[in-house]
């Protein structure tokens, strides 16, 4: 549902709050994905 914002502050508070939570998820998600991507690499290989 679309929220109604009366001030720019309301809008920024709403979007930034969600974005910060997403950012935390992304940081963890990318770390997990990197582990998945490189999980079967032999020690010698670096690509």
């Amino acid at each position: 549902m679309e929220n109604v914002f009366h001030t720019l502050h309301d809008f920024m508070l709403h979007t930034e709050s969600i974005t910060y939570v997403i950012l935390a998820g992304i940081l963890i998600g990318l770390l997990v994905f990197w582990r998945f991507l490189t999980g079967r690499d032999s020690k010698k290989r670096t690509f």
Binding site: M1, E2, N3, F11, H14, T15, E16, I18, T19, I22, L23, I26, G29, L30, F33, W34, F36, L37, T38, G39, R40, F47
Partner: protein, 390 residues
């Protein structure tokens, strides 16, 4: 070892030559029409849609897919991944031809093509993004020509000039990365002037970042895709080093592309969040946006990662073709499909068949020139006189 001028005496009437010949003939006819009768005769462009297929496909996709040149040379010469060295020349050649054809396509699209050098040499508009793009493309095409030239000079036997240019490799690579960073992002920034025309799901303050990051995985994917076609059709032109290194190039680039694509997906998510566009995802346009993002970014990225884990070349090559398609879809969405999205369908742009023929003609021209060069010059093999140079 492949011979430099090993051109067997085969019939000229091969299926490839016949199809390419027909396309080039059709393209030449449309070219004559374009330059004698004007843009109105061959295109469906109008004041609402001044940029069509020639910008959306030939230019935006051409530039993004030619990013393999700077990505590969940066990986090899700046980041020191020397095991990717055999991929540098094919990637530089693809990039050079890509940019050259972008400039050729631009001659068709602009109203007065003979004035193309004006912004650079006559009246530079230094506050304009288009000026910056034009200047960068002009400079980078020159850099790519110099980077490509050692192959041609080895073929021509001009050793001194070749050695001089090879000594400039690192400087040219740095120039290439700087210029590419500038204009890849600026091409995205061009659309920031039209917030009321581009659909909000595609419009973002981060458009320059999206264009730059997507150019990285597009370039990596294009190197794999082009390598796949080269292995299929030009296998006999490759030397032992190229063949030995090719699997490593595919898996190395697949890994990089996969991670960059996930990063791209992440920043797209942030873009939706900061603009609070979540509600638009549940509209028809939202489904189309999700198809682009999940169907043509997340899924090929996942296939790339599976290919790396399982050491499966076939999957990596499919993922590369899929990612290239995804990049084309993204650029067409931004420049054509989701552009002027609010206009009634009668006023929407759809390219004329002659615009499509011209685009196919230009791609075919690139393939024919690529084949001409790779069957004659040391692109997939080291010239015997310079085998110990890296």
């Amino acid at each position: 070892m492949p011979q430099e001028t090993n051109l067997p005496n085969k019939s000229v009437l091969t299926p490839f030559n016949i199809v390419a010949g027909i396309i080039i003939l059709a393209g030449l006819i449309v070219t004559v029409l374009r330059f004698t009768k004007g843009l109105g005769t061959v295109t469906n462009l109008d004041d609402n849609n001044p940029w069509g297929l020639w910008i959306g496909f030939d230019l935006l996709c051409g530039v993004a897919l030619a990013a393999g040149g700077y990505v590969t040379s940066a990986a090899c010469y700046i980041f020191g991944f020397k095991r990717f060295h055999s991929a540098v020349r094919p990637a530089i050649l693809t990039a050079f031809l890509g940019y050259a054809l972008v400039v050729l396509a631009l001659h068709y699209d602009v109203g007065r093509p003979w004035r193309l050098p004006y912004p650079i040499f006559v009246s530079p508009g230094t506050t304009s993004l288009l000026y910056e793009v034009g200047l960068c493309v002009f400079l980078y095409l020159t850099v790519l020509f110099i980077e490509y030239s050692p192959a041609a000079l080895e073929w021509l036997g001009m050793k001194k000039l070749r050695n001089l240019i090879v000594r400039m490799t690192l400087v040219l690579t740095i120039f290439g990365v700087v210029l590419s960073t500038l204009h890849q992002s600026s091409l995205g920034a061009l659309f920031m002037i039209a917030p009321s025309k581009l659909h909000p799901l595609w419009y973002s303050n981060y458009l320059p970042v999206y264009f730059f990051v997507s150019s990285i995985f597009a370039g990596l994917s294009m190197v794999i895709f082009e390598g796949t076609l080269a292995h299929r059709f030009l296998h006999d032109k490759m030397d032992a080093t190229h063949l030995k290194e090719s699997d490593g190039v595919v898996f190395g680039f697949s890994k990089a592309a996969s991670f960059v694509m996930m990063g791209y997906l992440s920043i797209k998510l942030i873009g939706i969040s900061v603009d609070n566009n979540w509600h638009l995802l549940f509209t028809g346009w939202g489904l189309w946006f999700l198809l682009e993002l999940i169907g043509f970014v997340a899924l090929p990225a996942f296939l790339y990662s599976l290919a790396v884990r399982e050491r499966n070349l076939r999957w990596a090559r499919w993922a590369a073709a899929w990612s290239v398609l995804g990049l084309v879809l993204n650029r067409l969405n931004i420049s054509v499909i989701a552009f002027n999205w609010h206009l009634p369908s009668a006023q929407r742009y759809f390219p004329s068949w002659m615009e499509i023929v011209t685009s196919i003609f230009i791609v075919t021209l690139g393939v024919v020139i690529y084949r001409f060069i790779t069957t004659r010059m040391p692109i997939f093999y080291d010239h015997p006189d310079y085998r110990h140079d890296i």
